[in-house]
Symmetry: C2
Amino acid sequence: MSTVSKVSVATKRILLGRPFRSDRLGHTLLPKRIALPVFASDAMSSVAYAPQEIFLVLSIAGLSGLVFTPWVAVAVCVVMIVVVASYRQNVHAYPSGGGDYEVATVNLGPNAGLTVGSALLVDYVLTVAVSIASAAENVGSAIPFVSDHKVLFSVAVILLLAAVNLRGIKESGTVLAIPTYAFIFGVVTMLIWGFVEIFVLGEDVQSETADFEIRAEESHLAGIAFVFLVARAFSSGCAALTGVEAISNGVPAFQKPKSRNAATTLLLLGAFSITMLMGIVLLAQQIGAKYVEDPAQDLVGAPDGYQQKSMIAQLAHAVFDSFTPGFYFVATVTALILILAANTAFNGFPVLGSVLAQDRYLPRQLHTRGDRLAFSNGIVFLALAAAAFVVAFGAQVTSLIQLYIVGVFVSFTLSQTGMVRHWTRHLRTETDPSARRRMQQSRVINSVGLVMTATVLVVVLLTKFSEGAWIAIIAMVALFILMKLIHLHYSTVQRELERADEESVLPSRTHSIVLVSTLHLATRRAVLYARATRPDVLEAITVNVDDRDTRKLVSQWEASDISVPLKVIASPYREITRPVIDYVRRVRRESPRDVITVFIPEYVVGHWWEQILHNQSALRLKTRLLFEPGVMVTSVPWQLNSSDRLKNRDLQYTAPGDTRRALGSDPDER
Amino acid sequence: MSTVSKVSVATKRILLGRPFRSDRLGHTLLPKRIALPVFASDAMSSVAYAPQEIFLVLSIAGLSGLVFTPWVAVAVCVVMIVVVASYRQNVHAYPSGGGDYEVATVNLGPNAGLTVGSALLVDYVLTVAVSIASAAENVGSAIPFVSDHKVLFSVAVILLLAAVNLRGIKESGTVLAIPTYAFIFGVVTMLIWGFVEIFVLGEDVQSETADFEIRAEESHLAGIAFVFLVARAFSSGCAALTGVEAISNGVPAFQKPKSRNAATTLLLLGAFSITMLMGIVLLAQQIGAKYVEDPAQDLVGAPDGYQQKSMIAQLAHAVFDSFTPGFYFVATVTALILILAANTAFNGFPVLGSVLAQDRYLPRQLHTRGDRLAFSNGIVFLALAAAAFVVAFGAQVTSLIQLYIVGVFVSFTLSQTGMVRHWTRHLRTETDPSARRRMQQSRVINSVGLVMTATVLVVVLLTKFSEGAWIAIIAMVALFILMKLIHLHYSTVQRELERADEESVLPSRTHSIVLVSTLHLATRRAVLYARATRPDVLEAITVNVDDRDTRKLVSQWEASDISVPLKVIASPYREITRPVIDYVRRVRRESPRDVITVFIPEYVVGHWWEQILHNQSALRLKTRLLFEPGVMVTSVPWQLNSSDRLKNRDLQYTAPGDTRRALGSDPDER
């Protein structure tokens, strides 16, 4: 349903801001082949770091631990299948694109929704931090200089992304598609080439780390301790699931049939992710690749100053041993898709903020779009927070990932709980047997999803809490409380504004006062405009800040054709604000039923430094006058020539993330 | 003449801001005994550092140089006498208190005036830097810890002074009087006691530095080089003259007869300064006190880690050898008067800014007083600039003083030139012989003053340019250019505002638009007020940012008793500003002769964070609407309960420096 027809339902007094044909909106909707890269870059990019984290954790138990990598990867894939299946139910049930926040709010109440909101906000920050840190590692695998300055590189990329988004980028689906498909192509080609070399050509493909031995920190782990280690590896591997929920937020941007296309895209995403994840893990094991937390200490046999490559880079290096461009290609597209994933967060963060603002959990103005300032604040906040995490954790993917997936799984779990409730509620009223059957089937799928994600959440909390997850939890709780307080404030104000005891009586008369400092065109216009409003009393006042100036003004005024009387207000202390306030209060005391309008001529300028040179006294007076009851303040602008340069600037702004909200991908349509 | 009667001359349509009796103003005028400390603390405090600088420079030539100290001091005193005599003419000729800036502007034109203005602005910064650095040295003479951390101490005191002035201190003449008279009392007692001990009691009073020998840097200076050194000593000694011009700025604050009282106070200042200066130099020579640039290197015989005391501290230490409280008393009052001198600059700087602003060399709002923000900016700027100088020069009085007196003597010289012109001009028209005789006499005095100050200026430039004076000169030139540019901007705008081609025709009709987001009391009030202005067309508009909200609003509106029609404006991209601007432009296109008034309900809140939560969209829209010609923007405020706390805050502010401008020393009178 288009915006226009919806409004028609609401009221017939419709007026379009500008000619706008709703059928044009269709142009910007995304076909599946574009929607996949637009929404799935985040989820797919996580296969760049999830497998190596499994290796890293298991390597603590030495080679005996590494035997379990494929099984941990299989477990992660099972969770992936269940989550994809569950979210396919979500996109059918909630085609509006509200995502987990909407599902939780509608089915579980505002507190559950707000919990999801807090979790997702923290998640966006960590998406940027983890993705960029991982990108730095992958670039560093090819360029040693970057490897030596990971933090610097990461912060620079984050600031660059922020700058690009602040500038108001025009995303096109095509531009987003290239790195994503290139990544899929690069990784899949590498995997096939590698397996062909090994199993078909029988070559001896070896990772550069194959000859190193792992110095196991705990080589004789047994029983519970070993299970705990495998669980930790599994938790880290579940990082591969981050971003899967993005498609459920983007349903409105899909071509029709929206829900079905979104569901299909989810399936594609799952298939690609699982293929790449399993492929990477199996190939890595085959060629003896190793990935440890601290190569200098944990690897025996490594040369001095050995720089550990990322797992993907190790594979590419081994597979494309005799074809160096292949190695550089894989490293490049991996870094690109990771940066793209971070960019996704820069789009998603302000959008989520806008949804939360609509429900009064964040400042209201964040709700309106096309609002440069609101978006800017979000982008700057996200960039600073992500940069802070990167600096605090030295751009170490392994450390950052400990904080990462808590938020994701809090959101997954609450969303699945909400979906189970959703079906239960609908089943209460639904009578059509086939519909009931479908619903029951969906409920089963979501229930399995709930059990699975809740289990993973518990495992993640148990294994990661002390490793850093507590930081993410504190951040979520703090955000939750802050948003609760904002909501409380808005509610209080709303009650204040709905008091019934306020008289709504039309003021008996209008008393207009034009503030004059010198007699020039801006003043004349203010007087003319004030007269045009035909007030009961109209007078001009000037504050005698300087005797010479005042005398000159008065004689000019008397010589002019202006028929409005000019009053001079004494200001023994050469102030402006206080004498005017005192005068206005006196007028108000004398006729309390009147409404007073103060007309202030104001210059409109084009440079910030001109703003310093003009209007300052007027602005301050205006601010103070607003504290007086029964007074309106009218600005009569005078556009100085320099103002032209700013006139239309704010009207030409493309907010980031427009594509994924099916908005204005073509500037001609705006 | 009181403010009130002056305005009566200008116009009969007078209205007093509040009951205000002009006779009360007399209460705040200063008798001579209070005026002296209020205006002369700056000038008198300079005897705390001027004598030691003479010793310091001459010690470069060793003991043979020190022989000349009394003669250099005498030369400084001669200049002092001439300058005091000259300024006595100024206060008679210009009782308005404009000071050097006014004298130069009126007689020599705006560029000369602006040169004086720039020089004085730089001077205020250096007054703070030099005075506080000297205060740190004097405190350090009593408390070694401060001596070890001079920079830290100085910056802390500057920030403290800034904070006190930002807070809006209530100066009373009495409070200012105590440290000044205590300083005079302390120094004069010390001198008398010292001379009595030596010449009456015949005691052998010796400075702790008496036994050290000076390692002369250039022991065999002869001819030009020696003359140059003496000239440098003289230049440094002339620092004693800084602040003499302050009285000429303060004439309006004196009791009647103002000019005569000011002239007498000048005489008193001169007498005290000369007495103390000569007394210090003679006593210092008598007891063999020494003061060098680098005690570790220049003093032979000094123990390791010897901390050099300031000259005044050395005298006090020697004189009050057996009476320690005397030493601490002198050190304390010296530090106090120096801090008071710095505080003078914190008062004078914004006042000079206000004078320059009146002539459009600085942002206009600086002209109005009782304007917290304008004063705050000046205070913060002064404090930061002074702190920067202190840090850059390591709080070394000797280094800072090189920059200091250029500005003073630029101002002296231009002022005296102006005075000569003044008398010449008046002599052209004056016919009364006795008046002519007085004028000719004054002209002679000012001519001597001109020759003297110009000579000193040349000497200062020759001897100090490379020592640091060039920095002060660059700062003055930069300020001069900046103020010229600001003036140029204002002139351009004024021409733009006085174009004759603007039609001044009353708009034919008024079209009022009330902006609505939700229907509550603030909105109702805005509609009522808008109706009270009886526009030709009145309509309410709402921007459809959210379908659900809009539908709710429309149904509430239809159910309410409001008769004003509500239009819904589509906003496909969920913006507010653009659709409203487009709508307003369309209305304007349809009837270009109308004036459009946009009523915006606005919340008035009491905390900055509430401001973040409210009005942001409204504010942005308001700003944008001002760029549209033919549109007025009216704020209809709704005072939320929290706004009470701010309501009267800005109206209770006492600006620094009120006392010296004869303003509001009694809060009851305001």
